[in-house]
Assembly symmetry: C2
Homo-oligomer: 345 residues x 2
C-alpha cells in the first residue's frame, strides 16, 4: 500500500513549503519566487512587478449567510492589494476567476463584481482578465494581483535586523471579534429564536470583518516620511503568526509588549461580553489586514509621530526567541496559534 | 422581489463580458485587459508582460476516477502556457493556488505538483507563488501564468484581415474522443461489468485528453520563418467556437473547408465506433490546445511548408458570415456549439 500522510500533519504553510522545496528559477525575470507576500519579477528599468494570488472558497473562507456578496467581492480584492502593499508596492492589475454554482444568479454575480470594482476604483487597480466557470457546489473566487514597486523600495519578510522597532498599523482583533459576533447571531437565528440581531454599537467590528481596508495610506506615508521598512507583512493570520514568519525568515527573535498592542474599545467590550482573553484575540485573531513592519531604531522619531502606527516592541537576536511581555512582566513565547497557555480552543 | 436572471441565459462568455463591461484601465502599465487569451502589461523597454488565469474544479473540469493527479497537474499548467503561446509570447512564471479537501493526502499533492513541475521544466517556467487552503468538497486548482513578448510580436484575436489564411496546428477532435472513451470505460466499470478497459490502439486519444501539449514549437517556428500571425487563439473550446471569436473580434467572416480539417486516424476510427459525426467532433470537441491563427496570404508558401500546420480556409468580409464548406459542397453556418443541424446532444 502506498504511503498516506495527512495534510493536517504539515499544515498549510508546511504543505506549500514542502511542495515548492528546491525550486530554482530559470528565467532572468524571476527575481524572487515563493516565500513572501508576493513574487517579484523584473524587467529592464527600475520598476519591478509583484504578483500575488488568493483562493477563497465558500464555507471555508466566507459564509454567505451573513456576508453580502458586494462586501465579499470588495474583501476578496482588497486582501490581494494588501499583499502588494505588504511588499511596499502598489497594486495595478487583477485577474478574477469565479466558480459559480446554479444557486447564484447573474444579479448575484453583479453584486459580487460591484464590490470588486469599488475596491479597484478605491485602489486605482485595473481588472485585466479572468475566467468564469460553473461549479458543482458553492462559490469559488480566485484573484491574482499584479503590482509594481521600484527595485530599491521592495520590502521582504527577511530583512529585520537586531534593535529594529516593530510597528503595526491600526488596531488588532476587531475583525476576529466581528466574526464571533456574526457567528453568534447566525446561531441564534438558526435556532429559530427569531430575534433580530442587534448590532448597535458594534458597527466597527462588523466593518472590520466584512469590509476590511488595505493600508495603502500607510505605504504612502512611509514614503512621504522617507522611512524604508526593513521587513513587512500584512496581518492576515494574526500578529503572532506573522511575527514568527518575519523572525524566522530574518533569523531573528523579538520582544513585544502586551500593553503596546493597539486594540479598539469595541473589541475590548466584545471580548468581555464573550468572556475571551482580549490579548489572545488581538494576537491570534486573523483578517485585520493591518501592516506589521520593522524599521531601524534611527527612525524612531518618524514612526512615533505617525498617526495610526504603534510601536509594539523590537527585534532581538534569534537566540532570545519570540517573546510577549505581559502587563505584569511575565514572558510568554509566541506561538503561531495562541500564545496563552490558558487559551481554550 | 429582486430580479433573478439565470447565469445559463448568458453563458460563460456572456457572463464575463457582462461583468467586465465598460471597464476603463487606469494604469499606464495596463495595455490590454479582458477579452483575449491573456492581458498585456507594459513597462519601460520593448518587452511586455502577459497574464492569464484558469480555474479548474473537480467534477466540472476533471474527473479523478480516470485522471491521474500527475497528469492533472501537468495539464493544469500547460493549458495556461497555451494561452500565453496564443498571444505569440512565452510563459515565464506561474502561481498555483490549491483548494484541497481531507480526501487528499500529502502524497496526492506531491503527485499533482510533480506534474506541474514537469510542465514547468518542459516550458522553462518558474513557480513563483501560490496559496493552499482546505476545501470542503473536492479539489480546486487555480493557476495564473505570466509571460513575456516583444511589443511588436504580440498577436491578439482582433487582427484578422480579409483574404488572410486560416491555419491550425496538429489535429483536432482527438482530446474529445479520448474523453468519450474514458467516460465509456468509467460507465462499464461502474456498472460492475468487471472488464478491464482495453485501450490498445487508442493511446493517442488518451494522451491528447490526459496530457495535452502547448504548442511552443509552433510559436518558435513562426518566428524562425519570420511569419507574424494577424490573429491567434488556442483551441480549448473547439474550432467552431474559437473561429467565431476571432471573426467577431476582427469584425470579419470566414470560410473553412471540411476536407482540410486535420484529423488523426485514431480519432476517425473512434468516431465510427461511437457512431458520431467526425467533423462535428473535430469542430466542436474541445481541449485540443492546438493553435488557430491567421496569416497574410503572402505568407502562403511559408505556412504551406510548415510541418504540422494545416491551412483550412480564409478570412472573408463580415457580411459573408462564418461558414463551413462540407465535402459535398454544401455551406453550413458555424455555431459555437455544433454546426451540424443533425447533431444529437
Amino acid at each position: 500500500m502506498s504511503k498516506r500522510t495527512e495534510i493536517s500533519s504539515l499544515g498549510e504553510f508546511g504543505l506549500i513549503d514542502h511542495l515548492t522545496e528546491g525550486l530554482q528559477p530559470e528565467n532572468r525575470s524571476t527575481c524572487y519566487g515563493v516565500g513572501d507576500d508576493a513574487a517579484v519579477l523584473c524587467y529592464d528599468g527600475g520598476v519591478k512587478t509583484l504578483v500575488t494570488t488568493d483562493l477563497l472558497l465558500e464555507g471555508v473562507h466566507f459564509d454567505l449567510v451573513y456576508t453580502p456578496l458586494k462586501h465579499l467581492g470588495y474583501k476578496a480584492a482588497v486582501v490581494n492589494f494588501s499583499d502588494i502593499y505588504a511588499m511596499n508596492g502598489f497594486p495595478k492589475q487583477i485577474t478574477v476567476s469565479l466558480g459559480v454554482s446554479k444557486r447564484f444568479s447573474v444579479e448575484d454575480m453583479e453584486e459580487l463584481y460591484a464590490g470588486i470594482r469599488i475596491a479597484c476604483e478605491d485602489h486605482h487597480v485595473d481588472i485585466v482578465g479572468g475566467d468564469t466557470t460553473s461549479s458543482l457546489t458553492g462559490l469559488t473566487i480566485s484573484i491574482t494581483c499584479i503590482g509594481e514597486a521600484e527595485a530599491d523600495r521592495i520590502v521582504y519578510r527577511n530583512g529585520a535586523c537586531e534593535t529594529d522597532l516593530i510597528c503595526v498599523s491600526g488596531d488588532l482583533g476587531a475583525a476576529y471579534m466581528g466574526l464571533q459576533l456574526l457567528e453568534r447571531e447566525k446561531l441564534v437565528f438558526n435556532n429559530g429564536e427569531g430575534a433580530q440581531p442587534d448590532f448597535a454599537g458594534k458597527e466597527y467590528l462588523l466593518e472590520r470583518q466584512l469590509r476590511p481596508e488595505a493600508r495603502r495610506d500607510i505605504v504612502e506615508r512611509l514614503r512621504e516620511m522617507n522611512v524604508q521598512p526593513t521587513a513587512m507583512m500584512d496581518i492576515s493570520d494574526g500578529l503572532s503568526s506573522e511575527l514568527i514568519h518575519i523572525c524566522n525568515q530574518s533569523k531573528k527573535g523579538c520582544r513585544i509588549y502586551e500593553d503596546k498592542i493597539p486594540i479598539d474599545y469595541q473589541t475590548a467590550v466584545m471580548a468581555e461580553e464573550f468572556n475571551m482573553n482580549l490579548t489572545t484575540c488581538a494576537m491570534n485573531g486573523g483578517e485585520d489586514y493591518e501592516l506589521l513592519f520593522t524599521v531601524p531604531l534611527s527612525d524612531y522619531d518618524k514612526v512615533a509621530e505617525m498617526e495610526g502606527v504603534s510601536i509594539i516592541g523590537h527585534v532581538t537576536d534569534a537566540g532570545l526567541g519570540c517573546v510577549l511581555i505581559s502587563r505584569d512582566g511575565n514572558e510568554f513565547e509566541l506561538k503561531a496559534q495562541g500564545w496563552n497557555p490558558l487559551k481554550e480552543d
